[in-house]
Each structure stands twice: as C-alpha cells, then as structure tokens.
Amino acid sequence: MGTENLHITSWVMVRNGVAVQNDSLFLEMTDTDPLSFIKALYKQIKCDYPKFYKMDNLCKLAFISAELLLKNVKLIYGSDEIAVVLSNSSSSFDTDKTYYQSVGDKSNYFPSPAVFVYTLPNIMMGEICIRHQFLGENAFFISEVFNSGILSDYTENLLNSGKAKCVITGWVEINESGWDAALFLIERTAKENEEKRLSKEHLNEIYALKRITK
C-alpha cells in the first residue's frame, strides 16, 4: 500500500502572529508578541479549557493549533484509532531554561512542580490527547528543521499497518527566532484531490505557506 488514499484533510499554521486554517487566514496580529497572540487565538476560538493557562508556552502553542485544526472537523474514529505524531527542533528547551533558572539560587530553592512537568516535549501530545480523549499511538521526533519525510513516512506506516485510522502530525517549535506550529490531519479517504495526497512534497508546500488565500 502507498499513500494513494491518504490525504491531508485539514491543516493549520500558527506563526509570526498569523494563524492560517485550510488556505484561509483565521487571525492576524503581527504587532503583538507570540504569547499574547496565542491567548488572543484561544479567545477567538472560544474554547473553554481553563487548564490552557497552566500550560507552558510549547503546550499552549500545540494545544491551540490542535484546537484550530479540529475546530470544524468531526472525527468518526474510535479514541484508540487516532494517533498523534509531532516533531520539533528545540525539544522543551524554552521551559527547560525557565526551570533551570528557578533552581539556580540555592538560597531560594523552590523548584516548581508545575514547571518541571513540562520539561519534556512529548507532554504537548499528552495535553492534546487529554483534551480530545485520544488514546492512539503517540510519537515525537527531534530534527534540526521541519522534516516532512519522517512525518510522512511514519504517518503512512501507522495508517497502512492498521495501527491508526487518523493521524494528527506536524511541527511545534519555540526558539529564539519565534514560535512556529504546523499541524496536519491525515485520513484515508478517496474523496480528496491529488494535491492533498499525503507526501513530503505536499507537507513542505503547505509548511512553506504557499497556499494561503486571504
């Protein structure tokens, strides 16, 4: 089996004060900082999930991107048939630094459990799965740059081996350059056209934001 019937049925991009959902601009606030933008997005989406505010930055970015990805989507799969496969470059370094700073002063040594729990990048998949009650396979990859090949191959394997019927995959990264999330919903369907077929080229094309229609 190849990727003939595996399609990118939904996608989102959250980057540099811009949130794009399936070729359309959802929100743009280019004169604000990334955290304020993500909070504005949370309010715009109108999701009522107070735990959002307790998450670290990386999880906030992943969580809100997944909310936007699934906003108008009705998943018809069992909880254990939905897999999440994410990747990034800097792991949880953004929160690692915060935690390191919090334990740096031995005379004022009060490690925060709430910060510590986010010092792993795969926690963002946990937050998405808890929110949507997904119980399928989770995998997290670290790569220097957005690696569509790994994501495409792993997703294809999960779907073609029967381990999942639907995969949320993508890239959620925070580093000195900024915040960058790109999530894709991959499903087996014969209805979509060729340009939405799962392939590393199509993932790259979307990631490069060549398809925005304002």
């Binding site: 107070p50 490690p111 925060s112």
Partner: protein, 84 residues
C-alpha cells in the same frame, strides 16, 4: 484572618497560573479540588511549595493535607494556627 484569605487568593491565582480567575471567583469555603476550582495533583504540589515559600510552613503530617488544602479557609486556618 480576612487579610490572610485575600492574600492567599491572590497567591493561589499567581502560583497556579489561574489567569482566567479573579480573587472573587475563589469562594473562601468552596473545595479547591474536585468541584471547586478543579485543581489537580500538580496544583496540590504547587500549594505545598506556596506554603513553604511564602509562609515558611511545612505539613508535619502528610495525612493532614486533605484537610489543610480543602479550601482557602482551611489553608488560612492552618497558617493562622502556626502563627500562634
């Protein structure tokens, strides 16, 4: 006592990142866990840190935690009792 309660509410909001809450949203006698503010096990650990960091207090007996952390009022009572 009212001062401690007001201070505690503000500290809980800050320490637990309850950004969507105001002190008025936290009812003094309401349970902090479960039905009340809906706090979780990590929040419980954060409250222990808060007690130690801001008030220099530790729970002598872990089994007292359920009672001490029941509400803002019970937390304030505990702090008050240790001041004496």
């Amino acid at each position: 006592m009212e001062d401690i309660i007001a201070k505690l509410k503000a500290e809980i909001i800050t320490q637990l990142n309850l950004e969507d809450k105001t002190p008025d949203d936290i009812h003094t006698d309401a349970p902090l866990f479960g039905d009340g503010l809906g706090l979780d096990s990590i929040d419980a650990l954060e409250l222990i840190v808060l007690l130690e960091k801001n008030y220099g207090l530790k729970l002598d007996k872990p089994e007292d935690g359920k009672e001490v952390f029941y509400s803002v009022k019970s937390l304030a009572d505990f702090i008050q009792s240790k001041k004496k």
